[in-house]
Assembly symmetry: C2
Homo-oligomer: 135 residues x 2
DNA sequence: TTATAATGATACTAAAATAGTATCATTAAA
DNA sequence: TTTAATGATACTATTTTAGTATCATTATAA
């Protein structure tokens, strides 16, 4: 089946929504274990995902006791396109290849032109889906 | 990298465009070897793709000498969504899963709702990209 | 009527992307 | 100084994508 979000992205978004909610209520760090309990995601995997979000500056993290994660910015400034970019690369559907080399028709190809504009539209719509709009 | 069309779909579309052009000029069957010469696609793979298009009634085929393929319908009635469906399944981005089981939030999930409407939009746009519009 | 030139069906291998786990290192607080 | 947390990293498994090969069938033409 086709998918726009891979599992990594999907799980990351769910975790971010949860972190956003908790932080709002209590203004503190949220731990991996809390998220695992609430969302039933595989722990080892979730750790990897949150570490990536932290490296990408979407999350702040704190080590040691009382450590955990919190959103590093306003949930209105975090959108699905950003998260996809982290786990799947940029939203770009135009990948016409011929035996792993760029296809020579690229410049003039009408399929490519149409797919490109569609791709841009999708990206712009995904940028409108912010964490705030999901909470 | 993300992709909307896999290689199968991409090659199939190129082949269909070529078949459409040739058939218009000469009203005859086009063989795999002609397409291979013109488009430089791998022969064994192209055979498999055209056989699938034939099974799906997009192409007519003729066996034996003078055999080959031709479009089975008006190029205005063949669109990219159809071709994607054959090689990749239907255009549907909403596949939220939890350890391979459908995610329990599906009914109420706002992410899913937004992705669903985006997915429908993309499909409707892809349906507008017909073979005729590319020739 | 038979050689030939075409597709049909099908089975197979290879490579890449996705999905998921495990472990040791580091750090901050109690 | 123990403990509870994340950081870094290496690893395996599964699924999807990509691609090849071969024998069967059939229509034409010599
Ligand atoms: S055929 Fe390659 S860009 Fe369109
Ligand atoms: S979290 Fe599964 S449908 Fe949204």
């Amino acid at each position: 089946m086709m998918k726009l979000l891979t599992r990594d992205t999907d799980y990351a978004v769910r975790a971010l929504i949860f972190i956003g909610k908790e932080a709002k209520r209590e203004n503190r760090m949220v731990t991996v274990d809390e998220i695992v309990r609430a969302l039933k995601l595989p722990r080892a995997l979730l750790r990897k995902l949150l570490q990536a979000l932290s490296k990408s500056k979407i999350l702040n993290s704190g080590k040691g006791k009382r450590g955990g994660f919190s959103l590093s910015k306003d949930p209105r400034k975090i959108n699905i396109s950003d998260i996809i970019t982290i786990f799947q690369g940029p939203v770009d559907f135009t990948n016409c290849l011929l035996r792993n080399a760029p296809c020579p028709n690229r410049k003039i190809c009408r399929v490519r032109k149409k797919i490109l504009s569609l791709s841009r539209y999708v990206d712009s719509e995904l940028k409108k889906i912010t964490l705030a709009s999901l909470t």
